[in-house]
Each structure stands twice: as C-alpha cells, then as structure tokens.
C-alpha cells in the first residue's frame, strides 16, 4: 500500500510518524523484510558532513548613513563579490584572505559569523548622487546585518571518487594530502547515510524539498552545478562516480557553527564543511529498497590524481565497506584509506533530523519540480576567436 507526502505529514503532525535513520533501516529490513518496513516506517533520515567548496552566503548589510554603493568589499580582508545592487554581496567559501592567504578565507568568515564574532567590513565605491559615500569601514555580526542567506550552488554530491597518487611526489589536493606511490587513498561520502544515494533516481528529492542545512532548515533550490544524472549506475540505481548534485538555500541566521566549519586544505586553499540532512519519505516498497542500501553495495571509482588531465585514469572500483575498513587494494598493493567527510557528524545530522520530525516540528515538502534526469555535464574547450 503506497503512502503520500500528505499522509506522512498528517502522521508527523499527530506525532505518530515512524522515523528511522538510513543506518537503522538496514537492520530493520533484515529483521522484518521490505514489505513490513514499507508499512511500518514513514521517513528515513540521511546525513552528510563534508567539505563542499561550492558554498557561500548572500549577505545584505542594510544601508549606512550616508549610504554607499559598495563596489569592492572585504570581510576580514576576504573579498566578497559586490556586483549586486548597493549592499548585497556574495561571500564564497573558497575566497582567500588578502592578508593571510590560505590560512583564512570565505569559509572561515561564515564560521566566524556563526560564532557571533565581529567581522570587519570594508568597502569602496566611486560615489554617486544617490549613494554619496566613497568608502566605509565598520564591524558587523550575524545579528547586526539585515539578512544572511546561505546559498550553495553545489552540495551533497551523489557519490564521489576515491583519490590516490601514483607519482613520486606528495600531492596537496581538495581530497587531502595524497602520499606518493599509492601511499594512501581518500574518499568523501557518507555512503549508506548519504542523501542522494538513498534516493538514487530522485523520486522524492527535488526542487523545493525541505532539508536540514547547517543546523537549520533549508531547501533544495535547484539541481546543483555539474549535476550529472547520466553517470554510469549499477542495477540498484546508485552511480559509481560523481553524479547528481543539489543547490541548497537557507537562513544562515538560524544555522549553527556545529554544522558549518571553515576548512583549510594545505596548499590547496579554503573550503567549508557543510552539514546536510535530507528526509526520504517511504512512499512504497521501492523506497525501502533504496534507503536500505548498505555500504557494501555502494561502489565508487578510484582515480589517479597525479595525472594532470581533466580525465584522470581510473584504477578500479571499490565499495564503501572496503573503504571504511581502512585499507583497499590498488594494483595488488595494500593502500590505507581515509575519509574527508565525517561519518560521525553525518550520523549526528540524521539523528537530529529524525528528532525534529518525531517532534512534529519539521514537515516533508513534496518537490514542486523534479531534478533533471537528462542534464549533461559539459567540458570547457579552449577555442580561439577565429575558430
């Protein structure tokens, strides 16, 4: 018997919804079977907490007296994009400090805002009749500014690759420090807890889906940049390389430093750890099958990051059970593995979201539009103007 979003929401409102995490449903299905779980369980909560570089915040500072049309803006010496009206900026997670380089960046500005710290705002302008001021230096906090909206163009990658290094030198990457001669291999997905792995064909997650974002409530705004639904998939629907992505939005003022943290990747730059949790409604038995997926049935592809090409050579396929064991085999060699995303935090997020739903304070939102299933991830070619 199939359930609808509305029926599940009625149960949530009455405090009667049965909610389990994407980890708990695995044992439940083994014990009770798919058919019974489809009847018993209403929502499965997922979670992920990893560095997501394509993140940032839209800030609206409010107007000074006399007002200023900010044309170049720095927050704690980190440039923010100001080509939007007078006092709107976008502070990107990977933007680097002009004074501290790779030790501090946009991700840290967002974290410091959430910590309640004072941030130095500096801006310059040419001055206009309507905005006469030519420069401003002041201090802001998350509370003092008019609005702060987290808007991340690409989060929650549906699966990600394993990075390793065949060369004889140390590589510094967004996948961490990769040691020479296959000295290690790193990965960055919460596997069986990962949001889009639990709804591999985007049946329930779409534009408008209400989610846990950075400790507050957010929404899926659109498909994310580089959304690539056409990636190769196994029979269970789960892709074996990076595939779908989500653009996420939410009120930064209601988020928490526990779930948004600035990060430094040595000799690569700055990023932002983002905590995302998505509720998956158990509409029918198919959704039970999807959400009860185990690490051993989620495969990903190993790439050699030492090859300076857009398409890096692949070195085989492994599952998340193997990756989480701490060691995989590459070309017959035992290679230690490490995760770049936190399973501990992912589980914490799935638990928090579960609690919100159980308490009746978080309702499911049916997508107003499906995510694209045909979008193609195009490369950038280098073409001269005479070609």
């Amino acid at each position: 018997m199939a359930k609808t979003f509305a029926e599940i929401n009625d149960k949530i409102k009455k405090g009667e919804a049965v909610v389990v995490t994407a980890q708990e449903i695995i044992d439940l299905v083994e014990k009770d079977g798919v058919e019974k779980v489809a009847k018993d369980v209403d929502v499965v909560t997922t979670g992920t907490f990893g560095p997501m570089c394509s993140s940032g915040a839209i800030l609206n500072f409010g107007h000074s007296d006399p007002p200023v049309k900010m044309q170049e803006v720095w927050l704690n010496d980190v440039p923010a994009y100001a080509g939007l009206a007078a006092v709107d900026v976008y502070i990107g997670a990977t933007e680097l400090s002009k004074t501290r380089g790779m030790d501090y960046g946009g991700g840290h500005v967002i974290e410091d805002l959430l910590s309640g710290k004072k941030i130095c705002l500096r801006a310059i302008s040419c001055g206009t009749d309507c905005y006469p001021r030519k420069e401003i230096t002041t201090h802001i906090t998350l509370d003092s500014i008019n609005q702060a909206i987290l808007f991340n163009p690409r989060n929650a990658y549906q699966n990600y690759c394993v990075a390793t290094n065949s060369s004889n030198r140390v590589l510094h990457t967004y996948m961490g420090i990769l040691l020479p001669h296959f000295g290690n291999a790193t990965y960055s997905t919460s596997g069986q807890l990962s949001p889009l792995i639990n709804d591999p064909l985007y049946r329930t997650v779409g534009i408008g889906t209400r989610i846990f974002l950075g400790g507050g409530v957010g929404y899926v705004a659109f498909e994310g940049t580089q959304h690539n639904p056409g990636a190769e998939r196994l029979d269970n629907g789960v892709p074996i390389s990076p595939a779908g992505t989500l653009a996420l939005i939410g009120d930064l003022k209601k988020m928490s430093r526990n779930y948004l943290r600035g990060a430094v990747f040595e000799k690569y730059g700055v990023s932002l750890f983002v905590g995302v949790g998505i509720p998956i409604p158990i509409l029918d038995e198919e959704m039970v099958k999807y959400t009860s997926i185990k690490n051993e049935n989620i495969y990903t592809t190993i790439y050699d990051y030492s090859v300076e090409k857009r398409s890096k050579p692949t070195l085989g396929r492994v599952n998340y059970e193997q990756l989480r064991s701490g060691e995989i085999k590459i070309n017959g060699k035992n290679v230690p593995t490490a995760s770049m995303s936190s399973y501990k935090k992912a589980l914490d997020i799935a638990e928090v979201l579960k609690q919100w739903i159980q308490e009746g304070k978080f309702l499911l939102q049916e997508p107003i539009e499906k995510l694209s299933t045909t979008q193609i991830f195009k490369p950038l070619e280098i073409i001269g103007n005479t070609e």
């Binding site: 907490f49 990893g50 560095p51 961490g176 420090i177 990769l178 040691l179 290690n184 790193t186 943290r261 600035g262 990060a263 430094v264 990747f265 040595e266 990023s271 750890f273 701490g326 230690p336 593995t337 490490a338 995760s339 770049m340 995303s341 936190s342 399973y343 501990k344 935090k345 589980l347």
Partner: protein
C-alpha cells in the same frame, strides 16, 4: 621501565661525536631515533625515544646535557583538540604511526600520544587546524 620522547638540539661542535650509542652501552637505555636532521657545521636536531629505568633515564639525560645538548621532553606537546575535531579523517590519511585512528564504534578520531612519532604531518593535514605541535620543528 619508563619510555619518554625527547627533542635534542646538538651544538655544532658535538655533531661529529658518538653520543647516542653511549645511552645504550653506559646507561642501558634503548633508544629509537624517530627523526633526525644534522647539517654540516650547523646545529643538529633529533627526536629520540628512550626506554629504561627511571634513574638511568635521568642520568642519561644529564650525560647528554654535559655536552651542551639541549634536551626537551616532548610527550605532552602535541595538542589534539578532540572537542573541536569533527572526525573527518583527513589526518588519518597521513598518519603512518597508527597514533591517529577512527574508533569503529563511535566514529570519533582518537589520538594515542604513545604511538606518535612526531612527524607533524597531521598538523598540516587537519582542515580544521585542531592539531597543534608546540615543540621545535625539525624540518618542514
């Protein structure tokens, strides 16, 4: 038996002398050189683990100091801030000693000081900068 880690700074006039071997022959100390850097006509630096009777360790250190070698115990100077750690695992990727591990029950990253060889790779690998090395650095 006690085991401690020390950082030694050798004045340049001592770097050609056999010294560490005497910790074994004269003071019955088992020594394990974890890291060493000796440049000709410059100071030498070494991270050394020594194991033996407490009295012998004390006397061994006095012996080292008699050459003008600076001896700093280091066991308590790697700071791993577990509270701030989010347990991502980026540090595990570079830890060869097994000092940093992921607890398979709680999924929390743990640091075992006794196993640490003070290579400092984790300090730079940690995206949140919650691991600090406050002792002298031997090499970058």
């Amino acid at each position: 038996m006690n085991k401690i880690k020390i950082i030694l700074t050798f004045p340049k006039e001592t770097i050609n002398k056999p010294i560490i071997c005497h910790l074994n022959t004269d003071y019955k100390l088992i020594s394990n050189i974890l890291r060493a850097k000796v440049m000709p006509r410059e100071v030498g630096k070494m991270v050394l683990e020594i194991e033996g009777e407490e009295k012998n360790i004390e006397e061994g250190i006095k012996y080292l100091e008699s050459f003008g070698i600076e001896v700093i115990p280091v066991s308590k100077e790697i700071k791993f801030n577990e509270e701030e750690c989010v347990s991502c695992g980026a540090c595990l990727a570079v830890c060869a000693s097994g000092a940093l591990t992921l607890d398979q029950e709680s999924y929390q990253v743990r640091f075992d000081r006794d196993l640490c060889i003070l290579c400092e790779h984790c300090v730079r690998a940690c995206p949140l900068r919650v691991i600090e090395a406050t002792f002298d650095e031997i090499e970058r």
